[in-house]
């Protein structure tokens, strides 16, 4: 998407503002942030982070090189590499959030070693380039100016640690909690959730229970308290100790659901039947000349087709509603690649909405980028039968994505569709027929490819949006 203007989510830190101009991403800095950037550039850890791809590609540019019409007046401006597709922590799987948390702590530890700290500890400051987590909030770094504990500790707990504890200790998926609370879970909420003996689970007593008790009893000004603690001897070594303890805790956290999903994934991943071969060939033929820069695989399941599309070089966003399935896909990508697939957890019947201040701070899923290619394989029957979305609306939603569509229609007599229909009253989905689907598709797309798979119950289409 070739947007211009100030990033709606970039307003909390008055010292640095992200904006877009001419399809490029910039960060305008005030005097303080500019001095911080100069200090950061002189460190040895920051260039190493850039070289390893752990921080977003960043360079200083001359103010005179800014494209015309760029907003604001700044002391200095940085340019960042574009993130292929922006995602949010409430769309990540357990292992993704865990890896993002560990990256954040590794970066903070490296920074503290050179007397630099981070202003916050926010999960939204990590993005993904394919399967790799990347720290993006370069404005977060500042030289250590006083003693006292890390000011981002609370935010780190709320948006990283607490969601991970929910899943690891209680098997509760955290995504819906983070979607509902962009600032994360409060210590007092967590204390109620981890009541009784649950408070003695690993990491809970120290980071949840004592945190909540301290929050309810200590009410004086935080800035003066931080300074006073610095004077009492709380220096960077103790902050480093906090970071190391958090890192050790999070590195050991595991999700039982994730572990069993990963075991299942490795046992059941199979690509062998005849339908699969024909489907593979159909998709390859359709994508061969397309060279999509951004593809969405909606309802990606084990990610087999996302992998196939990734082979053509662009970025692929692989979406599924089952967080355990997405977690297994992420683990397989982390182990073997490829690097250009971003797996996300999302229910397509209830996709991520616009959230935050003015409903603009975090964008809706479909408002972040326009894909070149959409795969909807074995998805339509789930939307139309399991979720009761009228077939006409399914097709018009596909059209709204404004991309070349490869879609699979699963007929009523297919065992998977029959199973879903078996849960519904007889006659409720009489209009779920291939002729009705084909007519609806033809009204909004030019159908440039069609093939029934050998099993006789599934038909593939390539459809190009009508202008």
């Amino acid at each position: 998407m070739n947007e211009s203007g100030v990033e709606p989510g970039s307003f909390r830190d008055p010292a640095a503002q992200v904006f877009y101009s001419g399809g490029r991403v910039f960060r305008g800095l005030d005097d303080t942030a500019s001095a911080d950037w100069t200090a950061l550039s002189a460190t040895s850890f920051f260039p190493a982070l850039l070289a390893e791809g752990k921080a977003v590609g960043t360079r200083s540019i001359e103010l005179t090189d800014l494209p015309d019409g760029s907003p604001g007046t700044f002391a200095a401006v940085l340019e960042h590499d574009r993130i292929p597709f922006v995602s949010y922590p409430y769309e990540w799987s357990f292992e993704m959030l865990r890896d993002a948390a560990l990256l954040h702590l590794e970066i903070l530890a490296a920074a503290l070693g050179e007397d630099v700290t981070m202003k916050d500890g926010y999960a939204f400051n990590v993005q993904w380039v394919g399967r790799r987590p990347v720290f993006i909030d370069i404005g977060s770094f500042e030289p250590l100016r006083s003693g006292g504990p890390w000011i981002g500790y609370r935010q780190f707990c709320q948006t990283f640690l607490y969601p991970l504890l929910l899943e690891a200790h209680l098997g509760i998926p955290f995504q819906r909690y983070l979607l509902g609370h962009l600032d994360g879970l409060e210590p007092t909420e967590m204390r109620r959730i981890f009541s009784g003996r649950k408070r003695f689970k690993k990491g809970v007593f120290r980071h949840v229970f004592l945190h909540s008790v301290a929050e309810s009893r200590v009410t004086e000004g935080a800035t003066a308290l931080k300074d006073e603690m610095g004077k009492a001897g709380f220096g960077k070594e103790l902050t480093l100790a906090t970071v190391k303890k958090l890192h050790a805790l999070i590195a050991k956290l595991r999700s039982q659901r994730s572990e069993s999903g990963w075991k299942r994934y490795r046992e059941t991943c199979s690509y062998s039947d005849a339908d699969r071969a024909a489907k593979d060939a159909f998709i390859r033929a359709a994508v061969e000349d397309l060279n999509p820069a951004l593809s969405w695989d909606l309802g990606c399941n084990d990610g087999a087709y996302a992998r196939m599309i990734a082979g053509y070089g662009g970025s692929v966003v692989a979406v599924d509603s089952d967080d355990v399935t997405v977690d297994a896909l992420y683990r397989s990508l982390r182990a073997d690649g490829p690097d250009n697939i971003l797996p996300l957890v999302m229910n397509l019947v209830d996709p991520s909405p616009a959230r935050g201040w003015r409903n603009e701070e975090r964008r809706a899923f479909t408002g972040r980028a326009r894909p070149d290619l959409v795969l909807a394989l074995a998805l339509v029957h789930h939307l139309a039968i399991a979720a009761n979305v009228p077939l006409a609306q399914v097709v018009s939603w596909f059209r709204s994505l404004d991309a070349t569509l490869i879609v699979e229609f699963v007929e009523r007599h297919d065992p998977m569709a029959a199973r879903l229909l078996g849960n519904k009253p007889t006659g409720m989905f009489d209009d779920y027929r291939i002729d009705a689907f084909e007519q609806l598709l033809g009204e909004q797309f030019s159908i440039t490819g069609r093939e029934q798979l050998p099993g006789g119950s599934r038909t593939m289409y390539v459809a190009v949006p009508r202008s």
């Binding site: 000004g221 935080a222 308290l225 006073e228 100790a241």
Partner: protein, 57 residues
């Protein structure tokens, strides 16, 4: 005015963050409150404590 941090750290979280550092962090918190306690009885310590926020500004 120099903006040092835009985030409200929350005073309770400051204490919790110190405790999270382990025994050494707990020792610092104890020392801070001990100094405050002594400050109740000593005008010298109390004066130092009152001067601390100004020193930081």
């Amino acid at each position: 005015m120099r903006v040092v941090a835009y985030l409200d750290g929350n005073s309770g979280s400051m204490i919790a963050g110190a405790i999270a550092a382990g025994f050494a962090g707990i020792a610092v918190v104890t020392k801070m409150y001990w100094r405050r306690f002594l400050g109740l009885f000593s005008s010298k310590v109390r004066d130092q404590g009152e001067a601390a926020p100004e020193d930081a500004a």
